[in-house]
Symmetry: C4
Subunit: 275 residues, 4 copies
């Protein structure tokens, strides 16, 4: 498999006429503490614009108004309320935990709850501080084959134990095999590691080197998994499209904002679905 | 009657010169609990962009700031305050209840109040969780001939008692006759059922299969009823325009966001008013 | 004087090179209770886009976040805090009171404070519920010749004692003479009454008949008075430009939203300043 | 050195391929009390759009939602919480303090903390009310050669002791030498004073004479210092680009809003990086 426009055409297929919002999956996003509320908002913008059927953001109640200011299309859940956790999670197709989650007791409790309650039909994307918590507390993944880890290099060091200079393709692949989860290792050249091999992302540019870009990517992966076959190809298509759109915007911008990427998703998904 | 562009031309007539905001009706929207505040915001965006003269959103106070961030054009009312209910309702021409309403005691009390206080001059649109409450609590419609129900198929099952596979055109029409209310039954092919027959909506696409699309439709129906003759034709025009705009946007987008539909309404209403 | 494009060219002159934000005046807007916060936001959007040098919104603290979500350019003041009143008012060039003010004790206290503390160098625009309070409590205008009243016909009935069918040009002019304030009487054909005569507004259309249009107009008048000579011509130019922009937008829209008008102001002011 | 397009080409160089958000620096913005929250939002918009890698806004908690409504890309910190101060500051490359800071005890404590904790590797931009506090309390600059002061003429009077009519080029330069900090003295013709001389800004127009323009400039200087060499040239490039963009917008607008400038930054930085 190569990450290119052809892959996008294969994954982003025209939608069936007889379908409804349930057809395109339910995404639950967990993150956004008092300081980092923007992170989960960026993930939600990405998931909704990617075409997830229903999107719920479980976050600190201080962030609810800002979520709705950006995205009335999303539902919100109060992450201090355990009843919310149960009701939000039970119907979910894809869970994304981590953007702006933080690393305190509350964050840890949410991650543990999520991993404990993940069901066989649910996929999970683990990003940001949830990766740090995963490493620090040596938490086990209940369904590694339905799990996507999206660390940047420092987070990968924590999860894998590999120092930055040990993070060779070979070592990373080996660690991926041990963990069993899909790995999206973010750097100036993001690479996807799966059970069958690894796939470097040829797209992307330094114009995308700004805070929140990873939160947007995680939201896109969640949105893609919600509606397309849950596999390596779909994950890879989300990664490539994220960078592809960044590259389009970087033709005219010195820096590309994460929220700008999200707004362009529907147009480019249409483009590749028609080719 | 057929749902087509001609219908839009008939309903969306040029506005009389000697008119003021009162001429175009007062809409009161009731919904939006702590979790689902976005739903009533989307309805309000649709009502205002459809041309309702005055729009008030009676919702959980946690949603007031988000309503105003989207729409300073709307007024807000605190739904925990019974005085608000009275003052907001007494001048209303059209009531819309349900988007994001929830199904707890507060939601039920609001629905009961609304149905009890509806007057002969007011129309009501009942959507979302208000339909579930209507079914669960066997509430009566005071003025069924001035009532529009906008269920999706699962909600219609609750209201009508018809299982999904029993929801044939014939059965639906029969139930509509029993209830006496107008029925907008949402599916991949929405159909309107009225006393004189039923009318399938030929427009719409799977790009519109995303959360909030129904809230937007309900807001458009309310906005249309506020300013145009209160009848089947007007309801049908709102349904068709909603899908028509979705189809225009779907020419360039893989997924169409509900809030994008609302922003396009003034342009397309102008287009059809001039033909 | 006639309200036309020539008037706009006369009033909207090119800005002097040696100037700073203080040159273009300080506007203080007072209004926006818990229900009607959107009204004062719309006035503020209009004042800032009209070119007021500094704009402060004294409003219910519940509205502060929504003000800043629309307009970080504006400062906010808590209207429950009397110290705010003093500090906000002392430097103001133009005061606008009324949009969304409401009519309770707090509203009355604010209006009384404003009228009591108005200085010889300050102009005041009185709109919306402040007009109702003015009439109900028979409040006196300290500087009528520096006062602009912007009632719609029902509010004018309260202020003038003239019933709707008595509001002839002659009667209105007579009342204006008695009151001494400038009168902008809003209807489908708004007319300005001043000491030297009255001037009907030939522009405007029913596409503008939607809630908040008057709040926007009031904000424009305040913004114009802040930076241009404080007289009848400047008031009239604001009234005409408001309708002119509405007419431009109505060429493509069935309904024109007040906030859309505000966004167009800088472009059209530039246009007329260059002619 | 002259402030012109050539300078922009020299400073705004193409980004290295092998880079990440850390490469482009961490900016911490401190300001925004209950009344002036918009000021720090405008600074943050400028810093993020200028390409700062990571941006944190330490502000009154009342402003957090409005920050995120504009800019989910930014992180927020509660300025009433001293732990926040420490954690936010320790990794910062550039500190900006002052926009909307106010002058009460809390404001003073924040400024004192900032000056006390500034490290040898950090630059600081001091703007708005922080300049007033600096003057009133005769605070010392720990690293004047890594400090940028951005007063308007009244603030400069407070800091330098020079009355408006004493603010000649010669006197200003002399005071700059005494203080040792870079000086961006804002007026209708902003001038930069550094150890090697002074540089008038030929760009800018009275369309930019509106509240918040200085907050935007301060944010741009911080964003530029975060990613480009920390020197006089970089400061000057930010000043010139700010006015240059204002001039572009003023070709079509009578008044230019500060937030409009920020949105144009990525496009123009791209333009000059490619020349």
């Amino acid at each position: 498999m190569e990450l290119n426009e052809k892959l996008l055409q294969q994954v982003i297929t025209p939608r069936p006429i007889e379908s409804h919002k349930g057809t395109y999956g339910k995404v639950v996003l967990i993150g956004g503490n008092e300081q980092f509320g923007g992170a989960i908002i960026m993930s939600a913008l990405a998931a909704v614009h990617s075409g997830a059927g229903l999107t719920t953001v479980v976050t600190d109640p201080n962030n609810h108004v800002a979520v709705h200011s950006h995205l009335p299309e999303a539902m919100v859940g109060d992450w201090t309320n355990k009843e919310t956790w149960h009701s939000a999670f039970e119907d979910a197709d894809v869970l994304l935990i981590g953007p702006g989650l933080g690393t305190n007791q509350q964050s840890l409790a949410l991650l543990q709850f999520t991993l404990t309650n993940q069901t066989k039909k649910q996929w999970i994307v683990i990003d940001g501080s949830a990766l740090t918590l995963l490493a620090t507390h040596s938490l086990a993944l209940p369904y590694p084959e339905q799990t996507v880890l999206t660390p940047h290099q420092m987070e990968w060091q924590r999860v894998s134990g590999l120092n930055l200079d040990e993070q060779t393709q070979e070592h990373n692949q080996q660690k991926q095999q041990e963990l069993g989860a899909f790995l999206v290792l973010k750097s100036h050249q993001t690479t996807i590691y799966g059970p069958k091999g690894n796939y470097p992302n040829p797209a992307g540019s330094p114009a995308m080197a700004t805070g929140g870009m990873g939160d947007t990517l995680a939201g896109m992966i969640a949105g893609f998994l919600a509606q397309f076959p849950k596999n390596e190809k779909t994950i890879s298509a989300a990664v490539y499209l994220h960078s592809f759109i960044g590259d389009q915007l970087a033709k005219e911008q010195y820096v590309v904002l994460p929220t700008q990427i999200s707004k362009e998703i529907p147009k480019w998904m249409h483009y590749f679905s028609q080719k």
